[in-house]
């Protein structure tokens, strides 16, 4: 085991895969010579050279289009979109081209590509640099959607995403970049589509993603310590494929579900999971399904305001208490 930061785990995951497969290439804005604006890709150009790790112009449509064209002709490209908010400037390539072309052409081509992006709030960057947009991607058939919460998962899930023959959108939570954790040293691959039960519990299931996972864990600690409530906490890790087996098993046991998501309220992944449970596990439920989300607003910039609106451990505790009381 090595102690790596979430940030370092990005480069570690990419490097692991670039070493074993020279069709893996990596492009993006300021990712190569400068090592990325979040310093997530430092050292890659030095190790793999200027042909495999390349800086691009500010041209997200070109970046993602080129990534698609390369993937359908023999490469396994990785692209960086600096902030996930910028998916909006190249969304056509992602959702109309990459996601659909395999299906439309009766399976003639595959798209083994990964698009990484720094996602989420907490850095006081304001509404255009702080969004959590995993749900935008989840809504589009043809995209796999992954969002790790720990350095080990960053490395392992990123490796799996690069090996995956389908397009994967890989959301890195920018507020986690500085966090550290144990990461297996040798080859490390974590399969996509497996949620992780981080804490066993019997009274309520709390499911969360990325930065919300720690808050859910803190909430579970408080619930246990202060209220004697035993919460099971699940890190969803991958929205597509979605591990309904693990989630359903837990909800069947606890009979109560709280989802914790960072995105604004409407049409988030929590709504999807809630509607799945309301349809398929209704008779197992002993109470409403509660979603903790950011309100349906753009994120404000000032620290006081941003902290006030995002889901917090306290809000999760409050939601559970309302539910279990």
């Amino acid at each position: 085991m090595a102690q790596l930061s979430y940030r370092e785990a990005v480069a570690a995951g990419i490097a692991q895969e670039m070493r074993r497969d020279d069709t893996v290439v990596f492009i993006g804005e300021d990712v190569a010579a400068a090592g990325g604006v979040f310093k997530t890709t430092e050292g890659l150009q030095a190790e793999f050279g200027k042909l495999r790790v390349r800086d691009t112009p500010i041209a997200e449509q070109a970046i993602i289009g080129a990534t698609m064209g390369a993937a359908m002709t023999g490469l396994k490209p990785i692209a960086e979109i600096m902030f996930s908010d910028f998916f909006a400037v190249c969304w056509d390539l992602v959702v109309n081209q990459i996601a659909k072309t395999r299906f439309m052409t009766d399976g003639q081509c595959s798209f083994p590509l990964v698009i990484r992006a720094a996602n989420g709030g907490g850095a006081r960057f304001g509404a255009q640099h702080s969004q959590s947009v995993e749900n935008w991607a989840m809504a589009v058939p043809g995209l796999k959607v992954v969002a790790p919460s720990s350095p080990a998962d960053v490395k392992g899930l990123l490796a799996a995403a690069i090996r995956d023959p389908d397009p994967v959108l890989f959301f890195e939570q920018k507020s986690l970049y500085g966090t550290k954790g144990d990461v297996p040293e040798g080859e490390h691959v974590v399969p996509l589509g497996k949620a992780k039960v981080l804490r066993q519990g019997s009274d309520v299931t709390i499911i969360a993603l990325a930065a919300m996972v720690r808050r859910a864990m803190t909430a579970a600690d408080t619930l246990q310590a202060d209220h004697g409530i035993s919460a099971e906490v699940i890190d969803v890790r991958s929205l597509v494929p979605l591990d309904t087996t693990t989630i359903f098993e837990s909800v069947s046991k606890t009979a109560r579900l709280v989802t914790v998501e960072e995105n604004p309220r409407l049409c988030g992944w929590g709504a999807e999971v809630s509607s799945l449970v309301a349809e398929e596990l209704f008779w197992d439920l002993e109470g409403p399904i509660v979603r903790v989300t950011t309100p349906h607003i753009p994120l404000p910039s000032a620290d006081a305001l941003e902290d006030a609106v995002m889901p917090s451990a306290e809000k999760v505790v409050a939601a559970v208490l309302k539910l279990v009381d």
Binding site: A62, A66, G69, P77, Q97, T105
Partner: protein
């Protein structure tokens, strides 16, 4: 024989190649004619099939623009890549795709190239390098750059050719792609088929420069090239030169070819917004008819020409027949092949 349209400052590698090009040999010219007739007859048949309501949805014919697809298709290497638009039946056919597959796809039949999953706007035959038809303006331009980047990286010597219309030059993806291709010296040839209209609007009304492709080339450090796209020999020669340039590492080209669609923009459009004289003038420049005459004038046997015509007529008849007899696609295929494992499963 080689007639480039006049354009200021038109100098450079491609201009020189056009200048020095000679008439293609007879075998090549018969192949150009064969390709044009195949396209022409297939699309005329497609038109008849609409009229019989056997083709549902929309469809965009390139009747009148055949010299472009034929010229490039004939010049390309088998393993080169081509990317085209919703108006891409011909570009797909000239790469060797099955005519039955194309007509079948338009008709939504099981024998369709995509078994009915894509429709007329999305033809692809990847194993022949026909890397797809894209229905959102400009999207395929960076994708083509990506295929070229892949070829460059793999040192395969392949070139990507990307066809698009005049109207497409005003969208952002055009700009991003050209700059990207230029700075990385990518082996990609961008072919702007200027047929004077973006759907129903004359291109001049929505474009800040007279020549939507050629007048933008210098913004990417590229040579401006503007040619008569109804002249198959000329298109072929330019294609050879641009492919060669790309293949030898001299980077991308942007080639504007002037042409005209004989019919409306799409199935829904009778094309009435076009002045009668304009249509008449361009009908006189029909690339298939004028090329036939040129071949005869140049001493090619009428028998050779008629043989091609008969062969292609038979080919279209056979394709139609097979497509008509093919059933609708099996319903199960609607829920497969979202993913590489063949499934559409999003949960475990």
């Amino acid at each position: 024989m080689i007639r480039a349209l006049p354009l200021n400052n038109q100098t450079g590698q491609l201009a020189a190649a056009i200048e020095n090009a000679t008439t293609p040999n007879t075998e090549t010219r018969l192949q150009l004619y064969r390709q044009m007739q195949a396209c022409r007859m297939m699309e005329q048949r497609a038109y008849d099939l609409f009229m019989q309501n056997l083709i549902k949805g929309t469809s965009h014919l390139a009747l009148g623009q055949e010299a472009v697809a034929a010229g490039f298709g004939t010049a390309m290497r088998e393993d080169d890549y081509s990317f085209c638009t919703y108006r891409g039946h011909n570009h797909t056919l000239v790469r060797g795709a099955s005519m039955t597959g194309i007509l079948g796809e338009l008709m939504g039949r099981e024998c369709g190239l995509l078994r009915g999953k894509g429709g007329s706007m999305h033809l692809m035959d990847a194993k022949r390098g026909a890397m797809g038809s894209y229905a959102i303006i400009g999207a395929h331009m960076p994708i083509a750059a990506g295929a070229a980047w892949s070829a460059q990286y793999r040192e395969s010597g392949q070139v990507a050719v990307c066809f698009f219309g005049d109207g497409t030059t005003n969208i952002g993806a055009f700009h991003e792609s050209l700059n990207f291709a230029a700075i990385w010296d990518l082996p990609v040839v961008y072919v702007c088929e200027n047929n004077l209209y973006m759907e129903y609007t004359p291109i001049g009304e929505v474009t800040a420069v007279p020549n939507p492709g050629a007048d933008r080339a210098s913004a990417y450090g590229l040579e401006p090239v503007l040619i008569d796209g109804n002249d198959a020999d000329l298109v072929y020669n330019v294609a050879v030169a641009a492919l060669q340039k790309a293949r030898t590492g001299d980077g991308p080209s942007l080639i504007e070819v002037q042409t005209y669609r004989h019919g409306g923009h799409s199935r829904a459009d009778p094309g009435k917004y076009r002045p009668d004289e304009e249509v008449a003038a361009w009908m006189k420049r029909d690339p298939v008819i004028t090329y036939r005459q040129r071949l005869l004038d140049d001493g090619i046997e009428v028998a050779a020409i008629e043989a091609i015509e008969a062969e292609q007529a038979a080919r279209v008849d056979a394709a139609e027949e097979t497509a008509r007899n093919s059933g609708p696609p099996p319903l199960e295929i609607a829920e497969i092949d979202v993913w590489a494992d063949g499934s559409s499963t999003w949960r475990n």
